[in-house]
Subunit: 198 residues, 2 copies
DNA sequence: CAAGAAGTAAACTATTAAGTTTACTTTTAA
DNA sequence: TTAAAAGTAAACTTAATAGTTTACTTCTTG
């Protein structure tokens, strides 16, 4: 790997860490240069402005988000098992260091500049990419009884987010402190008591 | 009302508006003075630092939050009616301009300085003040069947927040664009299908 | 109504941080 | 192996903005 590429990675790593810890506004380009073991001029050779650096970080983070495989509905496996599996994957995404970092950095900027919001919100992450079609198949196969599939999908994901994501994002909880198993169990149970076909 | 008091109010109003629109960091004391029709010196006579002004705004906002009356469990009224009433009050709090403003301003700071978080999080707002004891009475009166009351209360409130609060806070939705009635209906229905006593 | 409390505009200071320049050294690739 | 691409440290410019000072005016209250 060329020195130039190494420096680039160092700069991105250092900036990601510092932006996450202190916020974009409270991180100086001098700090980034120092933490990256690069000169300030090198930082500016790679990224013409602080904004460009911020953008590059968000892009890299989104790329690095390991999107778990889409789970396909199966008529052979009990619906609660399948929903539990989806919930587990979702929670592991929501609680990953990577996702929390993107979220914190992005939300900070978003709250100040709503223009950024749409950009980030339009991306579909995690199980929301496929949950609606999963549920549709559950209904088609008489395992579920749902009138408004879009709404039901939101209920499911929002319930997980409310318990495992926002409290950590805002610093009220740490990922370790959460009763993950119980949260998943109860989310699935609540969802099914409402939507399981008789 | 004395001129001095008027100026104080003007300054708080102007700062609240500007902090909300642009964030605390992107609001200058000169802007605040101008918007408040006061001299900068007057601003500093009332509030010794920008931080002190910020704090005063948060305190005033919290005071102004009209906390609806605590709803007491009644064995005479159907449980779904009672939960709907609670949900309605909660949604009107979560969607009030006042609450959204506090939330946006406070969360912005919170995401940057987790120390602030505890302070704000420790306050119990809305129906969370009494929902657990409400549910406990529902259980005692055989209207509800709940094992973990604390958890169930969170499920109820989180579901409302997920639909009516976070999307507005982050700018994905406006309060008017939400199908409030449906959200309340469905939240209550889901909660009861899980927890209503047979 | 007079003293002092509080208001005003505007210039000033000090600090912070983004981005540039300079003079020089190290990597890299034809 | 050598030219150019990229690195370096450190001093510099520029702009923004928190907070102060000054010289003066207007409220307010005993």
């Amino acid at each position: 790997m060329k020195l130039s590429d190494k420096k680039r990675v160092n700069i991105l790593d250092a900036a990601e860490q510092l932006f996450f810890e202190n916020g974009v506004e409270h991180t100086t380009m001098d700090q980034i240069a120092k933490a990256a073991q690069a000169s300030k001029r090198t930082v500016y050779n790679h990224f013409t402005t602080k904004d460009a650096l911020f953008e590059a970080i968000i892009i890299r983070m989104v790329e690095h988000l390991n999107q778990d495989d889409e789970l396909r509905f199966s008529n052979e496996i009990a619906i609660d098992i399948q929903l539990t599996k989806i919930a587990q994957q979702e929670v592991s995404l929501l609680n990953s260091v990577h996702f929390l970092r993107i979220a914190k950095i992005a939300f900070m900027q978003m709250l100040q500049q709503p223009a950024l919001a749409e950009d980030i919100a339009s991306n579909q992450f995690g199980c929301m990419r496929y949950l609606e079609s999963f549920l549709r198949q559950g209904v088609a196969n008489n395992k579920l009884q749902i009138e408004d599939i879009e709404f039901a999908a939101k209920q499911f994901v929002y319930q997980l987010k409310s318990f495992v994501f926002y409290p950590v994002l805002f610093g009220f909880e740490t990922p370790d402190s959460l009763p993950i198993t119980k949260i998943i169990e109860q989310t699935v149970a609540t969802f099914l008591s409402r939507y399981q076909a008789e």
